[in-house]
């Protein structure tokens, strides 16, 4: 356990430092979620007038959706870092050292989590400026961050695991796009579940992306149904743990290819 914690710390520091040394990347990552909130906010402003749409303000409704989209579009690419390490030889050097494999996965997840928390807080501030009310208050925002981090852990691990299996950037891009777009459209990220076709409503019940949106939206509402929130957070935690475990096993698949 001790090497897992210390190695995760060293490797996370490495990843965060590398990110901070790319100011353009940092700037884009900070601006992008803001743009989504502004664009979707304008585009779908009148969607709340559709019958069956319960929420009062679309910005209030949209904020958890934009946070989740941000998770998918950054954590889904986590595996690119693994592929760069493979191409460079960093991966082989690490695997020939007594480094904890789980730490290699955990550090990537923590790196994603830090990015997501910063990005989400920016989205929250912009939403407040646009007139969102967030009746759930600080606790509601915290629940949204936890849900986002758990979802990020799951997607970053899947992306890393896939990177270890496919080993090329092109294949990983294909996989990531194929997974993230349908999962976000088959959730209530942008549209109220009640306004979606019946089959999507059914599918979304089993979609972790939707769990994250629903848990956040519920916690941010005036009168949260906490059992619904915790059931979904629990589900997200389970998915994240299984994804980290599976992805760590993918190192074996990578080593078999050597």
């Amino acid at each position: 356990m001790a090497p897992l914690v210390s190695h995760s710390g060293y490797l996370t520091a490495r990843l965060l430092r590398a990110t901070l040394r790319q100011p353009a990347f940092v700037a884009i990552s900070l601006v992008q979620p803001m743009m989504w909130l502004l664009l979707f906010g304008q585009l779908f402003e009148r969607v709340v007038e559709i019958p069956g749409f319960a929420a009062g303000s679309y910005i209030d409704f949209l904020t958890p959706g934009v946070v989740v989209m941000t998770v998918l579009f950054s954590s889904g690419w986590a595996g690119m870092g693994f592929i760069e390490d493979m191409d460079r030889g960093v991966m082989d050097r690490m695997l020939a050292s007594p480094i904890s494999r789980m730490a290699m996965m955990v550090s990537s997840v923590v790196n994603q989590a830090v990015a997501i928390v910063v990005q989400s807080l920016i989205v929250v501030v912009v939403a407040l400026l646009l007139g969102a009310e967030f009746a759930g208050g600080v606790v509601g925002v915290l629940v949204m961050l936890v849900a986002a981090v758990l979802l990020a852990a799951a997607f970053a691990s899947l992306s890393n695991g896939m990177a270890l299996v496919v080993r090329t950037q092109e294949s990983l891009i294909g996989f990531s796009t194929m997974l993230t777009l349908p999962l976000s459209f088959m959730s209530s990220a942008m549209m109220a579940r009640e306004a979606a076709p019946g089959w999507i409503q059914t599918v979304s019940r089993f979609n972790p992306v939707d769990w994250s949106v629903v848990a956040s939206r519920e916690a941010l509402s005036a009168d949260p149904d906490w059992s619904a929130v915790f059931a979904r957070l629990g589900g997200l935690l389970a998915v994240a743990v299984v994804a980290v475990w599976l992805a760590t096993r993918a190192f074996r698949s990578y080593q078999r290819s050597l």
């Binding site: 430092r17 590398a18 191409d87 460079r88 960093v90 082989d92 050097r93 020939a96 007594p98 050597l258």
Partner: protein, 325 residues
């Protein structure tokens, strides 16, 4: 010198590895004595890198076993990883981190802490002449500097066995000479066992105390570079005659000596192969003096490793290596 694990630091026993239809290793066995520099020599595709991957626990053989620093690579991979330093063909340094950060991370992964880690890193930066570049990101380093950092990273934790996979590929002649000097110093001063692969004959000849020539996944010859060369039975003795010398008389005299073969004359130069050049020279000189043939110069040339390679594989090294891009 016997190391802490008896006489041998590495033992590979009938290693077999196939990738689909391609056989990379077809039962390779060898032993590396502790404290020596051991060279795996062969063209690309001979199985050198596959051997390295198995011995450094990156890859598993289909069959066969190997121990490194006294530990079985399949059953105790973590013990092996703690005992070895690995410098792979591709760099292995993080281009977004500084030289110092790369070294510190490598040390910390091996459990080094605080000031001990930092002073070891300073020492290595100094030794590899990287102190002034220590806090620059590696992306800005020249190829030679990156390679030096690679080797330094393999040494941070004081390994027992160091693996160098083609350490000088892609380096300019000056950087290559520097690297050779450093590798020679490593084995002399740190009592390290070094396993290096190379497809440069002169590098193997220059650095390795013992050599294993591999071709198509099997060992074709092994020994010290000198042993391998003397297997060819014959140094070249080249006699340059003075202008007034009687060529025919000299040629007949040399041919008549016991132990000389393949006597040829070209201009005023007589070449012959002898079993042992060093002892043949005085005899040749004595014979020519008796016949009153004036001699301008005598030189002895040992056979080169590419002659050895050609003899064992039936292909010249240059041709075998041409697949490399």
């Amino acid at each position: 010198m016997p190391g802490p694990f008896g006489e041998s630091a590495i033992k590979a026993d009938t290693l077999v590895k196939t990738y689909g239809e391609v056989t990379a290793l077809a039962g390779l066995s060898f032993t590396v004595p502790a404290g020596s520099v051991f060279g795996l020599l062969g063209p690309n595709g001979a199985g050198k890198s596959t051997t390295m991957k198995i011995l450094t626990t990156l890859s598993r053989p289909d069959s066969g076993t190997a121990t490194v620093a006294g530990h079985d690579v399949l059953r105790e991979p973590n013990e092996v990883r703690r005992a070895i330093g690995v410098v792979t063909q591709r760099s292995g340094t993080d281009p977004q981190a500084t030289g110092r950060e790369n070294l510190l991370l490598a040390g910390r992964i091996h459990g080094m802490r605080g000031t001990a880690a930092r002073s070891r890193v300073d020492e290595l930066l100094e030794r590899f002449d990287l102190t002034s570049a220590a806090d620059r990101v590696v992306r800005t380093y020249s190829g030679g500097m990156q390679r030096k950092l690679d080797v330094a990273m393999g040494l941070v934790h004081g390994p027992v066995v160091l693996f160098l996979d083609e350490p000088t590929t892609g380096l300019d002649p000056q950087a290559r000479a520097d690297m050779w000097a450093e590798i020679a110093r490593l084995s002399a001063q740190e009592r390290l066992t070094v396993l290096l692969t190379t497809h440069y004959l002169e590098e193997a000849d220059h650095l390795a105390e013992r050599l294993l020539i591999v071709d198509r996944g099997t060992a074709v010859a092994s020994g010290t570079p000198d042993q391998l060369k003397s297997e060819l039975r014959g140094d070249a003795v080249v006699i340059d005659l003075a202008p007034e010398a009687d060529l025919g008389l000299a040629e007949r005299a040399v041919e008549a000596m016991s132990g000389t073969h393949e006597v040829t004359v070209e201009g005023r130069t007589i070449r012959s192969r002898v079993d042992n050049g060093a002892s043949a020279v005085p005899a040749v000189l004595a014979v020519l003096e008796r016949e009153a043939v004036p001699v301008a110069a005598v030189t002895v040339a040992r056979p080169a490793l590419d002659d050895v390679y050609l003899r064992h594989t039936g292909r010249s090294f240059a041709i075998a290596g041409e697949v490399r891009v």
